[in-house]
């Protein structure tokens, strides 16, 4: 994992409280406490606002994914079991392979 060194300016009182927790053994270092605090904050934020956690283009991806699933549901679903789907996909794979590669061999 790549690491980045930063300089942090915080109120003296917050620093003293952090040092007290480190001395008491709750955290190994100030860095560990800061990491834990940032992770906790991000988790809470992303739980409350999931779209903030999305990568660029992620919202559009999820909308398109849901649109495809909606069309499939409205068409009555795949009407097949998982095993039947796997078997059908094996057949399609062989079919595509024959069309693309086996014809000339």
């Amino acid at each position: 994992m790549a690491l980045r060194k930063i300089t942090l300016t915080i109120p003296q009182s917050l620093y003293q409280e952090a040092k007290r927790l480190i001395r008491a053994g709750y955290y190994a270092s100030f860095t560990e406490l800061a990491r834990a605090g940032i992770r906790k904050e991000l988790n809470e934020l992303y739980t409350a606002h999931p779209s903030l956690a999305l990568r660029a283009g992620g919202l559009m991806y999820l909308q398109r994914l849901e649109e495809i699933r909606q069309i499939i549901r409205e068409a009555g679903g795949s009407q097949k079991t998982e095993e039947e789907v796997l078997e059908e996909l094996r057949r399609i794979r062989e079919e595509v392979w024959r069309e693309r590669y086996a014809a000339g061999s």
């Binding site: 991806y61 495809i68 699933r69 069309i71 068409a75 795949s78 789907v85 794979r93 590669y101």
Partner: protein, 160 residues
């Protein structure tokens, strides 16, 4: 991951690269399998993850989806080509020697061997499939072969 070893990769130098088999797209889109559905759902929430799509997998997926509704062909192409986390790569130029190698490694079907070979060719880290031939028969050290449940667990443990 391969990128940490310092070697240059063609697709996504610093990313974890996944190749998803056709069954993961179909089972995830039709929501027939919960873990395949979850895998497609979490992709946009994970930084540093890129899915390489073999052109034949794209064709197999759209061919299957068209039997449910013809409009799904363009909708699936929009999904794959419209999102930066996906990269469609042609497997037309796959070296035949690599395909033969994967037949020797346990994939007796040449069509399956091409997917196994493609995954090594693009230097991916994972091949994700529910196909028993990949999960049970393929013996390779070039990448890991996982099903969707294992892949989701790996992503949640390492990248989220």
């Amino acid at each position: 991951m391969k990128s940490s070893a310092g070697s240059e990769r063609r697709y996504g130098e610093k990313d974890t690269l996944l190749v998803l088999d056709t069954n993961e797209y179909i089972l995830g889109l039709t929501q027939l399998k919960e873990t395949s559905t979850r895998l497609l759902d979490i992709l946009p929430f994970v930084e540093g993850l890129r899915v390489i799509v073999p052109s034949t997998v794209l064709e197999e997926t759209t061919r299957n989806l068209s039997s449910i509704h013809p409009i799904l062909v363009s909708k699936f192409n929009d999904l794959v080509y419209g999102y930066e986390g996906f990269r469609v790569v042609s497997n037309e130029d796959l070296p035949q020697s690599l395909v033969k190698k994967y037949q020797r490694l346990g994939l007796s079907s040449e069509a399956d061997a091409r997917i196994g070979a493609f995954t090594e060719w693009v230097e991916a880290d994972f091949l994700v499939s529910e196909n028993r031939h990949f999960l049970r028969d393929l013996q390779t050290t070039a990448y890991q072969v996982l099903d969707a449940a294992e892949m989701v667990r790996w992503i949640e443990a390492n990248l989220v």
